[in-house]
């Protein structure tokens, strides 16, 4: 048994910070690695809120209903036991965040306020204005800063995880990381590591995610033998602002507070939006889904908008855009949305209180991720994962406001589990594989800096994004997926001929990016292969050639392993021990 176990947490979003806090509290020693200062992690972007069935609105909500909504919303692909546990913990997690000082919105009596989100009929989402993720991240960041000042946590901000150090038995003994200023690579010993590196939106070029969401760490581990599960399940959010560099999210809370999605009934209607009378507007979600209306789950809303634009040719002015209209909302409701209204105003220039917003779906969330057991451990002993980086909880489609809850819950499980594991770990023989892994990473770096090719990494990235967005998002065809895979193989080939225009050894961001790019390409293949082989439609994965869910063949977790340099796919049964799978229908009244 190691005297005082050393745990490394990689990633300082909600999941990473939650695990750090639990370990520090239990007396463990934690080393926290993050590319960006943790307070600038992607979690800061979350807008709408966090779910917990506290039933403070007299609606008869319960954790079992939250459990059922989550499983049903995920089209039964999630293992049910962890979902059950998470939803049961929801109310206590909200109370804890409240105690940490998160400025949640309040009712006149001083209780927590809740709003309704997609895929449920209950007001179950606690929120702090329209910047909930920012407020939650800060609360956890402050707690970690406190533990840091007491010497229980050491932060390595500006360090990038490159790979795990594995000993002769394939047991994790630490990590190799690169200092993004000095460009030094080093190994750090650890008895267990927890990967909380978030999603992989960057593989699609433009998404709602932050710049560092490349999935590079997950991909590196997959290439070292970790299973990557359900890679093909990528959430495309129905409402984002199309942009030059990024698709900025218009949170589901806009619809939760009463926002309505529509297009003119007549596709040639050239009037300005507000002058179009009610009768001439087509509120297509409300008409097609009378019960859930604008708050159908995301995959469904996204496909409907896609169809309105590309099948019915009813996009505004023939463009791929529909209206998201808040102009009818009373002031108090708009006030609760301030943060996102500002985003629209700042980046589009129109005031959404006066003019209906123009939106289109954008890549948003990575349901798939590192395969983990119910203790958050991957198949590599000593490597744990939590947050958007793992595959649990959300199945084939994530419900809005469930991710923030899961990130915290996942971190709360992973931290103590990693600590337990570490306490029972036998010491490594020899150097535990450190020297060999460091050398492997240094060689990769040397190859890159000595490469004198002609390919610009940023251009390869653009091409990757274009092919992924075209073939592997809202609507998928097998021919297109084959084309995408062939394209990525071509890009991997061209990568060998890369030209680093900057070969310096100081704060070389393009060098770090180029390393990540390789991992994005490998993970891109996992997404595409998984989608190609899953001949059904389920949640976010939609194939017109196979429009129905096929439980007999595909009520299964996809597991990708890196074999001979390519993804090899196997399937594993899903835990359906609590709720019997039933057809997923939101259109009834």
């Amino acid at each position: 048994m190691a005297a005082s176990p050393r745990i490394i947490v990689v990633g300082g979003g909600l999941a990473g910070l939650s695990s750090v806090i639990k370990i520090a509290e239990a007396g463990g020693t934690v080393y926290l690695f993050s590319i960006v200062p943790v307070k600038r992690s992607n979690s800061v972007c979350a807008q709408g809120g966090i779910n917990a069935a506290k039933d403070l609105k007299g609606e008869g909500d319960s954790v079992l209903k939250h459990f059922d909504d989550t499983v049903y919303g995920g089209d039964f692909l999630a293992n049910q036991t962890p979902v059950k546990n998470m939803t049961a913990q929801g109310p206590a997690i909200i109370d804890l965040l409240d105690r940490m000082g998160v400025p949640f919105n309040r009712t006149p009596e001083g209780l927590l306020d809740f709003r309704r989100f997609g895929g449920t009929l209950y007001q179950r989402t606690a929120f702090a204005g329209a910047t909930t993720g920012q407020q939650l991240l800060y609360a956890l960041d402050e707690q970690v800063r406190r533990h840091e000042s007491e010497g229980k946590v050491t932060k390595y901000e500006g360090w990038e995880f490159l790979s795990a150090v594995l000993d002769d038995n394939g047991v994790c003994r630490g990590i190799v990381a690169m200092n993004l200023r000095t460009m030094e690579t080093r190994t750090f010993p650890a008895d267990a590591i927890i990967i909380c590196t978030g999603g992989n939106g960057a593989i699609f070029g433009k998404s709602t995610n932050s710049v560092v969401c490349t999935g590079s760490a997950q991909s590196a581990l997959y290439q070292q033998g970790a299973f990557y599960a359900n890679g093909e399940f990528i959430q495309v959010h129905p409402t984002a602002i199309p942009g030059e560099d990024k698709l900025r999210l218009m949170s589901e809370s806009a619809r939760g507070e009463g926002g309505r999605v529509w297009v003119p009934r007549d596709r040639n209607d050239k009037r300005v939006a507000r002058s179009i009378p009610e009768a001439d507007r087509y509120y297509f979600l409300e008409e097609r889904y009378p019960k859930y209306g604008n708050l159908v789950p995301r995959d469904i809303a996204t496909r409907e908008i896609f169809k309105i634009v590309y099948e019915d040719n009813m996009g505004i002015d023939g463009q791929p855009m529909v209206y998201l209209d808040l102009t009818h909302l009373p002031k108090e409701r708009l006030h609760k949305l301030e943060g996102i209204l500002e985003i629209y105003e700042k980046f589009v220039g129109d005031d959404p209180r006066e003019v209906p917003m123009k939106i289109f779906p954008g890549v948003h969330y990575t349901m798939g991720g590192l395969w983990v057991d119910f203790n958050q451990q991957t198949n590599i002993p000593g490597v744990f994962a939590a947050g958007e980086a793992d595959y649990s909880i959300h199945g084939a489609n994530r419900l809005g406001a469930n991710s923030l809850l899961y990130c915290i819950y996942g971190g709360f499980v992973a931290g103590p589990q990693a600590l337990n594991y570490a306490k029972a770990l036998k010491p490594a023989t020899g150097d535990g594989g450190h020297a060999a892994e460091l050398q492997r990473q240094n060689e990769k770096n040397k190859q890159l800096t000595s490469s004198s090719g002609t390919e610009n990494p940023f251009k390869i990235w653009r091409e990757l994004g274009e092919t992924m967005t075209k073939h592997a998002t809202i609507v998928r065809y097998n021919a297109g997926l084959d084309e995408a895979d062939a394209k990525i193989v071509e890009l991997l080939h061209r990568y060998k001929n890369i030209n680093l225009s900057d070969k310096s050894q100081w704060a070389n961001t393009s060098f770090a990016f180029t390393r990540q790019l390789y991992n994005m390409l490998e993970l891109g293949r996992v997404i595409v292969r998984g989608a190609r082989l899953r001949d059904e439609s389920r949640g976010a994965h939609y194939k017109p050639e196979f429009p129905n869910r096929n439980d007999e063949q595909f009520l299964k977790t996809t597991k990708a392993a890196f074999v001979d340099g390519a993804p090899s796919i196997t399937y594993e049964d899903v835990d359906t021990s609590h709720i019997k799978p039933r057809p997923r229908v939101y259109s009834s009244t």
């Binding site: 920012q134 560099d245 990024k246 940023f458």
Partner: protein, 253 residues
């Protein structure tokens, strides 16, 4: 000929390297922001006079003005690069070059990237956190009226961009002033029911050298803050409390 955007960037390849200015001309597209301009240069790192150069180093993450990474001087003004739109910057004179430079009061790491960790150190010094007993389930927090939330929330919106420090004439090596952001966080945590248990410690931390007394009320901070924090109000409130605390401490010592 298609329109181009002229950009002049102050660069420095490392903290000891000489400062140089490089000029670029980038093909115009509507709705670009400064971060997408910088992305464009990375794709094609060639200066206006045809010299191949290194992509520009700069910090960014969220691209929607919420992570606080991308503060820099744009046309001489401290602001966030991701929310600085080219069309707006050039309104009226599209031929005028846009100038980019790193924040001037923080050590340059490289090009437009600077080291702002001092703010995180300051937050540690004033214990900007609620010292909860533990993360186990202790039931609901005390009730809090919406009016209190309305007062706390704006202060909690600070993205640690350090622009308020950059624009403050008093934020320099001779005063060691902590800057507006840290003072605003002291107000925030002193207002929290459980956070206020550390109130006295926080006020004492702001009492001496580099504390609230350094503020010269130039009010630059409140004008420049991209998140519209009520900074001058926070500074005067906290200053008042620091003085009260000093008087108390004087008599109890």
């Amino acid at each position: 000929m298609p329109r181009t955007i002229k950009v002049e960037i102050k660069r420095q390849s490392n903290p000891d390297a000489p400062v140089v200015t490089e000029k670029f001309e980038i093909p115009y597209r509507p709705n670009m922001n400064i971060t997408s301009l910088l992305g464009e240069i990375a794709c094609n790192p060639i200066t206006a006079d045809g010299k191949t150069t290194a992509p520009i180093a700069y910090d960014s993450n969220c691209l929607e003005e919420i992570c606080g990474s991308c503060a820099m001087l744009i046309n001489g003004k401290a602001r966030m690069a991701c929310s600085a739109l080219v069309d707006k910057l050039q309104a009226g004179n599209p031929d005028e070059p846009i100038t980019l430079a790193p924040l001037s009061k923080f050590p340059v790491v490289r090009d437009l990237s600077v080291d702002r960790s001092v703010l995180f150190q300051n937050l540690k010094a004033v214990k900007a956190w609620v010292p909860i007993d533990g993360t186990y389930d202790l039931g609901a927090a005390p009730r809090q009226f919406p009016q209190i939330q309305e007062e706390r929330y704006p202060l909690s919106n600070c993205i640690s961009c350090t622009i308020c420090m950059e624009v403050c004439p008093q934020f320099n090596d001779s005063t060691n002033f902590v800057g507006a952001a840290t003072i605003a966080q002291v107000k925030l945590f002193n207002m929290d029911p459980a956070g206020s248990v550390l109130k006295e410690e926080r006020l004492r931390a702001l009492a001496g050298d580099g504390g609230v007394q350094e503020c010269g009320f130039a009010q630059n901070c409140v004008e420049a803050c991209p998140k519209q924090l009520p900074l001058t109000e926070a500074i005067s409130d906290v200053t008042r409390e620091v003085i009260v605390q000093q008087v108390k401490d004087f008599f109890t010592r």
